[in-house]
C-alpha cells in the first residue's frame, strides 16, 4: 500500500509534527518505502499465534501504595522552557 500526500498530511497531524505542503510528496514517498518493507509480513501465516505482550514471562511486581517522594517542585520545573509561579506555562488553551 502506498501513502498519498493526503494520508501523509493526516499522519503528520496525528503525530503533531508540522510538515510544509511542499514537503508532503517526499515524505509520502519515504513512508511508502518503509510501509512496503513492512508488508513482507503479509507472507507469514499467523493463524492461531498470539501477539507477544511480554518479552520475558514475568508478573509485574506490586508495591505498597504509599508516597515515596515529593516536595521537589523546583527540580520538576527546572528544565521547563516557561515556568511561572510554580506551574508549567503554555499558550492559552481555553478562550
Amino acid at each position: 500500500m502506498s501513502i498519498d500526500t493526503q494520508t501523509a498530511r493526516k499522519v503528520a497531524k496525528l503525530a503533531r509534527i508540522r510538515v510544509e505542503d511542499a514537503d508532503l510528496p517526499a515524505l509520502a514517498e519515504k513512508l511508502s518505502s518503509i510501509l512496503g518493507f513492512m508488508e513482507q509480513l503479509n507472507e507469514v501465516d499467523v493463524t492461531g499465534v498470539e501477539p507477544m505482550t511480554s518479552v520475558t514471562p514475568m508478573r509485574l511486581k506490586r508495591r505498597a501504595d504509599v508516597v515515596t517522594d515529593g516536595n521537589i517542585q523546583a527540580a520538576v520545573l527546572k528544565n521547563a522552557p516557561d515556568a511561572r509561579e510554580g506551574f508549567f506555562a503554555v499558550p492559552k488553551v481555553v478562550e
Binding site: I3, T7, A8, V11, A12, L14, A15, R16, I17, R18, V19, L27, K30, L31, S33, I34, L35, F37, M38, E39, Q40, L41, N42, E43, V44, V46, V49, E50, P51, M52, T53, V55, T56, M58, L60, K61, R63, I72, A75, V76, K78, N79, A80, P81, D82, F88, V90, P91, K92, V93
Partner: protein
C-alpha cells in the same frame, strides 16, 4: 603504553597495586579525549567531575574498599541521564536539558567508583546505524583506509569510536536493534547486549521500550564481564527489570567450552553475503570446534521477517514514547507567532526539534497504530515476533548452548554512502542483530579479524536468556582463538 590504552582489567590491577593513581589514569584519558576532537565522539565533556570522582576513587583504593570499576574512566552514551550534565539523546529537542537525577546505570557505575569523562555521540534517539542522524554531526570511525571518513556505526557510534581510539577505557551503549553490537563490530571492539531486563532502563531516554537494553562496550571480553556486573541488577524503578541475582560474570571466563553445542542458523547465510564475511564465519566455527565445542546446523525459519517486524514495532513504541517531547516540561520550545495556540506550539516544536529520521519513524509508528491499520500492521508484527522468539526457544530446547553468526553484513562504510534516498537501505545493517532484541536474548559482538581493506570484522554469539555468564565464556574462547590485536593508526 600510555594508561588510556589499558583494559579495565589491567587498570584495576595496577590501581590496586598502587602502580598508578586514579587521578593519573583519568588525566591520561582527559588528554586523549581532548586530542580526539577530530572523531567527534565526546560531545559534552565533564573533566572537573571526572577528577573529583578520581580523587574519591583514590581514597577508596587507599582504604582497601575498591570494587572492580573503582577509578576506571569511562564515557557515557548521551542517552543516559547524568545529574547536572547535558543529556540530549543526540537531539535538538532536548537542547539545554540537564537532568535532575542519575539513571540507575549511572548511579550503579558511580557507586562502584567509575569516573565519568563525558557524554558520547549517538544517532538521534538511538535511531540509526551510522551515527549520521546526530544533532552533533556524525562521530567518525578511528579506522581509516583512504581519504574517506568512515562511520563508526550506530547508534552507539561515539561509544565505539571513543573506546577503539583509547579516549577512555570503556563506554556505555544501548541496543534496540543492534546499536551496541554493530558499532562494536565496525570499530573492532567488544560489546554485549544483555538479556532484556538484566540492566535497568530507568533514566535512559526511551526509544522502543520492549526492545531497548543497556550494555557495556569494551576493549576485551573480560572487561565486558567486569563492567556488565557493575551495570546490572534489579531496580524497582523499572517494572521490567528482573529480580534475579547478578552472577560473577568474570569468574565464568574459564575458557572451557568442551561439549557445548554451537548452533549455526542456515537462514543467516544470506544471498549475496560477501565471501569475506562467510569465510570469517567459517573460521569462527573452526575456532570453537578446536576448543571442543560441537558445531550444529540449525534453522530459525522466521529470520527474514525480523527486520520488517522490528520496523513496525520500534516506530510504534517510539511514536508513543516520543509524544512526551511537546515543548512544555523540558527541552526546546518553538517561537510562536501571534495567535498560535497550543497545537501550533506542539507541531512547530516537534518539527524544529526532531531530525528527519526521527520524524519519519514517529510518523510510521503513528500510521501503524492508527485506527484501521492497528491489526494489519502492529498486531500482525507482534504475532510474527512471537514466532521469531519461538524459533530460538526451539533451538535452545534441542540442546543448543549458543548460536554463532556474523555481526554485520559488511565492514564500516563511508559517511554519507548509505540511506540517502531510501531509508530502508540503512535498516539492512541490522539484519543479523535485530532478531535478538525481538526475542529478548543476550548477544555479544567480538572482533575476529580484518577484511582485505584492513577494516575490522566481528562475529556475534547469541545466548540463552539470563545466561550471559556462559555466553561471555564462549566469547572469551573466540577472542582468545582469534587473537585480534589490531589497532587503528592515529590520524585524528
Amino acid at each position: 603504553m600510555s594508561a588510556n590504552t589499558w583494559t579495565i582489567a589491567a587498570a584495576r590491577d595496577a590501581l590496586r597495586k598502587g602502580e598508578i593513581t586514579a587521578v593519573d589514569l583519568t588525566m591520561a584519558c582527559l588528554t586523549a579525549m581532548d586530542a580526539g576532537d577530530g572523531l567527534n565522539a565526546f560531545v559534552h565533556k565533564t573533566p572537573e567531575m571526572a577528577l573529583e570522582q578520581a580523587r574519591a576513587a583514590d581514597a577508596r583504593l587507599a582504604a582497601g574498599d575498591a570494587p572492580a570499576m573503582c577509578g576506571i574512566p569511562i564515557g557515557m552514551k548521551d542517552l543516559y541521564a547524568v545529574k547536572g550534565v547535558p543529556t540530549q539523546a543526540g537531539s535538538n529537542i532536548l537542547k539545554g536539558y540537564r537532568p535532575e537525577y542519575d539513571s540507575t546505570v549511572t548511579s550503579n557505575l558511580t557507586s562502584a567508583g567509575a569516573v565519568l569523562l563525558g557524554k558520547l555521540n549517538m544517532d538521534e534517539f538511538a535511531m540509526g546505524s551510522s551515527n549520521e542522524s546526530s544533532c552533533y554531526g556524525p562521530a567518525v570511525n578511528p579506522w581509516k583506509i583512504d581519504d574517506r571518513k568512515l562511520t563508526p556505526g550506530g547508534s552507539s557510534g561515539g561509544s565505539a569510536a571513543a573506546v577503539a581510539a583509547d579516549l577512555c577505557l570503556a563506554a556505555t551503549g544501548t541496543d534496540t536493534g543492534g546499536s551496541i553490537r554493530q558499532p562494536a563490530a565496525f570499530c573492532g571492539i567488544t560489546g554485549i547486549k544483555p538479556t532484556y531486563g538484566r540492566v535497568s532502563r530507568w533514566g535512559i531516554v526511551a526509544y522502543a521500550s520492549s526492545l531497548d537494553q543497556a550494555g557495556p562496550m569494551t576493549k576485551s571480553v573480560r572487561d565486558a564481564a567486569i563492567m556488565l556486573g557493575a551495570m546490572a541488577g534489579h531496580d524497582p524503578m523499572d517494572s521490567t527489570s528482573a529480580d534475579l541475582p547478578v552472577p560473577d560474570f568474570e569468574a565464568a571466563l574459564t575458557g572451557d567450552i568442551r561439549g557445548k553445542q554451537i548452533g549455526i542458523p542456515r537462514e543467516y547465510r544470506l544471498d549475496g553475503m560477501p565471501a569475506e564475511i562467510a569465510a570469517l564465519w567459517d573460521r569462527g566455527m573452526d575456532m570453537l570446534r578446536d576448543a571442543g565445542a560441537q558445531i550444529v546446523d540449525i534453522s530459525l525459519p522466521h529470520t527474514k521477517y525480523a527486520l520488517p517486524t522490528y520496523y513496525v514495532i520500534a516506530p510504534a513504541e517510539a511514536s508513543s514514547n516520543l509524544a512526551r517531547y511537546d515543548g512544555v516540561r523540558y527541552g526546546h520550545r518553538a517561537k510562536l507567532a501571534q495567535g498560535d495556540g497550543i497545537t501550533e506550539m506542539y507541531e512547530k516544536t516537534r518539527a524544529e526539534g526532531f531530525g528527519p529520521e526521527v520524524q519519519r519513524r514517529i510518523m510510521a509508528g503513528t500510521y501503524v497504530l492508527s485506527a484501521g491499520f492497528y491489526d494489519a500492521y502492529y498486531n500482525r508484527a507482534r504475532r510474527v515476533r512471537s514466532l521469531i522468539k519461538r524459533d530460538f526457544e526451539q533451538a535452545f530446547a534441542a540442546g543448543i548452548d549458543a548460536i554463532l553468526a556474523p555481526t554485520t553484513p559488511s565492514s564500516a562504510f563511508g559517511l554519507g554512502e548509505q540511506g540517502g534516498s531510501d531509508p530502508v537501505e540503512m535498516y539492512l545493517n541490522d539484519v543479523f542483530t535485530v532478531t535478538l532484541n525481538l526475542a529478548g536474548l543476550p548477544g555479544v559482538a567480538v572482533p575476529v579479524g580484518l577484511d582485505a581493506k584492513g577494516l575490522p570484522l566481528g562475529l556475534q554469539l547469541i545466548g540463552r536468556p539470563w545466561e550471559e555468564a556462559a555466553l561471555l565464556n564462549h566469547a572469551y574462547v573466540l577472542e582468545t582463538a582469534a587473537g585480534f590485536v589490531a589497532k587503528p593508526g592515529k590520524w585524528w
